[in-house]
């Protein structure tokens, strides 16, 4: 019997949904993840926990999710195909479900050569679309990737994935989203939106194909904390598209933090108006404590 996660419930109720990223610490101290949870706990409907994001070693996503759950926060466990083969991935899906994790977001993963262990060997046995299909088959058909039957309990997972409307080839981006939908994805979080025009072009195509009726789409946002961070995102984070006018605003700003806050708020207010968008996913890299005031201004608080 399918029991909806809180995230699925909020989305299916048609409410504008908020998810927030919580990056696990570089260490084993559970208080670090609790502190972030404490800052953000009233700000979001669910909390993305990254899986060794940008290929930098951190506390495991599943363990961090478990800690957040103990605080009554609902996690979205991110899982990448970079570090595990299909055996380990399916095993983690079962384990996550067993400890009560209900939302899993599938990614292929940032390449290990970009992280802090560039000497490591990547796995990439399967890609994110194949992972979505595997989880769907585990959940709906009770079978593993090899068609063996799942014997003791099918994982009841609300399946997420990402979409990057700004990557190349741009013309293919909606096709790829459609492939994820066909594979069985339930919700999508997009790459952070800075280039609104490009994003609108993408969502228009999404809507014209009716994809927004088949999958919930949350638009990504990231408040820019400084010019340094802006440049780092533009030039070093794969797939991020920050238009020149935003860079200029950050360059000219007397108080870059305030300007970053304003830009984020303006973008959020624009995104809220876009048809076919079901919510916002916010990634505040090392700036989590800005989120409560940003969301207050955006009218997202309080969240039940």
């Amino acid at each position: 019997m399918h029991k909806k996660s809180h995230l699925e419930q909020v989305l299916s109720d048609g409410k504008f949904t908020i998810t927030v990223e919580v990056g696990p610490p570089k260490g084993s101290d559970p208080d670090k993840i609790r502190q972030k949870g404490e800052i953000l706990k009233k700000c979001a409907d669910a909390f993305n926990v990254t899986d060794n994001q940008t290929a930098v070693v951190r506390m495991s996503s599943m363990a961090s999710c478990f800690i957040l759950q103990k605080m009554n926060l609902e996690p979205i466990m991110q899982i990448t195909c970079r570090d595990r083969n299909r055996i380990a991935l399916q095993s983690d899906i079962l384990g996550a479900s067993a400890i009560g994790i209900k939302n899993i977001l599938c990614l292929t993963g940032d390449h290990q050569s970009l992280g802090n262990h560039p000497e490591s060997k990547g796995v990439y046995d399967i890609d994110s679309i194949q992972l979505i299909k595997i989880i769907k088959n585990m959940r709906d058909n009770g079978i593993f990737q090899n068609n063996d039957k799942i014997v003791y309990g099918k994982p009841d997972i609300f399946i997420g994935a990402v979409a990057n409307p700004f990557a190349d080839p741009f013309e293919y981006r909606v096709d790829r989203l459609e492939k994820k939908v066909e594979a069985g994805v339930n919700f999508i979080q997009t790459q952070s939106v800075f280039n609104l025009d490009k994003f609108k072009t993408w969502i228009d195509e999404v809507r014209s194909r009716g994809i927004d009726k088949k999958v919930y789409i949350l638009a990504g946002t990231s408040p820019l904390k400084s010019l340094k961070m802006t440049n780092r995102m533009k030039y070093h984070v794969p797939g991020v598209d920050i238009p020149g006018y935003i860079i200029k605003r950050m360059e000219k700003a007397k108080d870059p933090q305030k300007e970053g806050f304003n830009i984020a708020l303006e973008l959020i207010n624009e995104i809220k108006k876009i048809k076919g968008i079901h919510g916002i996913h916010i990634t505040a890299l090392f700036w989590e404590n800005i989120i409560p005031s940003l969301f207050k201004e955006a009218g997202f608080l309080p969240r039940s």
């Binding site: 195909c81 970079r82 299909r86 292929t108 993963g109 940032d110 390449h111 050569s113 970009l114 990547g122 990439y124 046995d125 399967i126 890609d127 994110s128 679309i129 194949q130 299909k133 595997i134 990737q145 990402v162 979409a163 990057n164 700004f166 990557a167 190349d168 080839p169 013309e171 293919y172 096709d175 790829r176 459609e178 492939k179 066909e182 594979a183 790459q191 794969p238 797939g239 598209d241």
Partner: protein
């Protein structure tokens, strides 16, 4: 072709330790890669001599991966090889191991690092083309292989990291998915990419000890 690059001299000197050394090259891939042809062997001989290491002799196999042929050729160098402490092999990982199979009592020193199965683009410019996965599916991708040419081995690519048609991993390398996309658009066959490709059957891979 099997692409190799020569190990650094310091690394080789470290592995060799002391002479005499017998040097073996290969007349095929390693010759074309300029890692194990006559020119490279003679250069290596002179470097070793300058370091005070005696070179007992040298030969070029035709090619080094041919066991029976190797045995036939190397019979002529029996005395030189028997008095050597090391055999330095300037061939690919396969050639090196064929030599190891023939000489069990002499130290075998690999003189190259074997990189990939690739294409000769220009003189001394090579690019990986095949992963030797054991089950070719390039018909699905207009004759191009995303397993060997996408760093994430994606079958349902491209990932979200490609920008300006370049790969997330190296901005000098074009994203192979971008090229596949362009070519299929050109041919009016882009719908081919809409089909979900299932996980690859790696049991067909030649990665394990297989033989035919």
């Amino acid at each position: 072709m099997i692409i190799t690059k020569q190990k650094s001299i310091n690394q080789l000197l470290n592995s060799i330790g002391e002479g005499p050394v017998f040097i073996i090259g290969c007349n095929e891939c390693a010759t074309i890669c300029q890692t194990g042809g006559e020119k490279e062997i003679l250069e290596m001989k002179s470097i070793l001599n300058n370091k005070g290491i005696e070179v007992s002799g040298w030969t070029i196999l035709e090619p080094a991966c041919h066991l029976l042929n190797d045995k036939r050729i190397l019979r002529n160098y029996k005395n030189d090889i028997n008095k050597s402490k090391n055999i330095l092999v300037l061939a690919c990982g396969n050639g090196i191991q064929t030599i190891s199979e023939i000489f069990e009592d002499i130290n075998i020193v690999p003189g190259t690092d074997t990189l990939f199965l690739g294409e000769i683009k220009h003189s001394n410019e090579f690019e990986k083309r095949c992963e030797m996965c054991g089950f070719c599916i390039v018909d699905l991708f207009d004759g191009l292989c995303p397993i060997s040419r996408c760093p994430k081995n994606m079958l349902n690519g491209p990932c979200g990291g490609s920008t300006d048609g370049k790969c997330e991993v190296n901005k000098d390398i074009p994203c192979i998915w971008y090229i596949i996309f362009d070519r299929l658009i050109e041919k009016g066959q882009i719908d081919q990419l809409k089909e979900i490709q299932n996980p690859k059957d790696w049991s067909k891979s030649t990665k394990w000890r297989r033989f035919i």
